[in-house]
Point group: C2
Amino acid sequence: MQQSIQLSVDAVVFGYEAGNISILLIKRKYEPFKGKWAIPGGFVLDDESLEEAVERELKEETGIKINYLEQLYTFGKPNRDPRGRVVSIAYFGLIRPNAFKIYASTDAAQVQWFHIDELPELSFDHKEILDAAIKRLKAKITYEPLGFELLDNKFPFSDLEKLYSTLLGREVDRRNFRKKIIGLNVLDELDEKVSKGSGRPANLFQFNKKRYFHLKKEGIIFEI
Amino acid sequence: MQQSIQLSVDAVVFGYEAGNISILLIKRKYEPFKGKWAIPGGFVLDDESLEEAVERELKEETGIKINYLEQLYTFGKPNRDPRGRVVSIAYFGLIRPNAFKIYASTDAAQVQWFHIDELPELSFDHKEILDAAIKRLKAKITYEPLGFELLDNKFPFSDLEKLYSTLLGREVDRRNFRKKIIGLNVLDELDEKVSKGSGRPANLFQFNKKRYFHLKKEGIIFEI
DNA sequence: CCAAAAGTGTTTCGATTACACCCATGC
DNA sequence: GCATGGGTGTAATCGAAACACTTTTGG
């Protein structure tokens, strides 16, 4: 049994900021698809775990270190890579774009956030991977609390609300949403206010980590 | 970039019959773990897709051809296989145990259905894979219609009900369950009855394939 | 006629939805 | 004082849950 299959990992990284969902892409420095945009990723080394591989590649290619990464799906069609048989394990991650400075390095000629509705043409079968990731992300918010990974440590309630309405692609009722979230008991209200220039200043909240991760594990069903 | 990682696929196959959930295991013919039980699976060939690989291995090792297979998760810890670095893509499948005759062949010394509560010790990290599969199966029935793959073509309503109560591990209200399922419009009622020896004979139903797969794709939320 | 499983409706309860006005601040 | 975003409660509606008796057959 001698195989010549190579193994890679790829990461779809979602960022959220001020009502915009974006995705982190790199411009490829080498063939194949030189000069084209792609999801960050690369080959797995013999002695590292898959998670270590994604984290390393992300760091190398884009400069970010991500806190939330989840395995998405494994793509393995025989001809998905022109270099030969490459099977790729795709991950998806969430991050606050402003939490890290992105910079191109090995393998990447350039790194850039793209708005989810303005994506360039992608290399390999990365469009397919990305579509799967978007689908998963949208499904996730209906059965898990989400936000900790995407919002600042302290945030006004309206940020969370806008995050959800953006991800859901529709308006949410402000009062009902607040009731629901407060009822989940994942937020701690702080004795701090913030003003956005005009209007009444908002109370700041932060996620109660313990309760948050507990709920994630339980897989709370949670309709907005 | 020269890797020496090998790629395999494994399949957790669930069977259901008369109120019992069982899992298909093989007894390994060769080292490592010779003589121990394991999930069927094996190495991916260079020119076949991952799905083709699982189907082939299942056929070779157990004799079954499965209609419903879904990718579960990819396991890739560096030391999960004593032979070296092997990354395995796990699938899970559903089947009616009586639909196929199982028989051992290549790589397998024996093939057997095990009741889900009476599993033997397993090789490699297969216990972990199995646990993930069980978790997924139990989650699935709450957001997808399920049953087509596990029940006979024609079945009395009580079979579906028993399937659900078994998978959920609790009683379901007969009237409410029936209302719910009928409301989904996935069943066609036949003009045929079947008697189970005693009691009133039951009407037979069958799944309306078109509607069933439509609902699956939509990902209906469906609380029992 | 008795045992055994199938079939069937209504009421109760809780959760989701819809909806509008006052509050605190900056300019 | 006015423009801007923040904060709050109640009534109506819908879906889920609870619940028990009648029907059909075999023995």
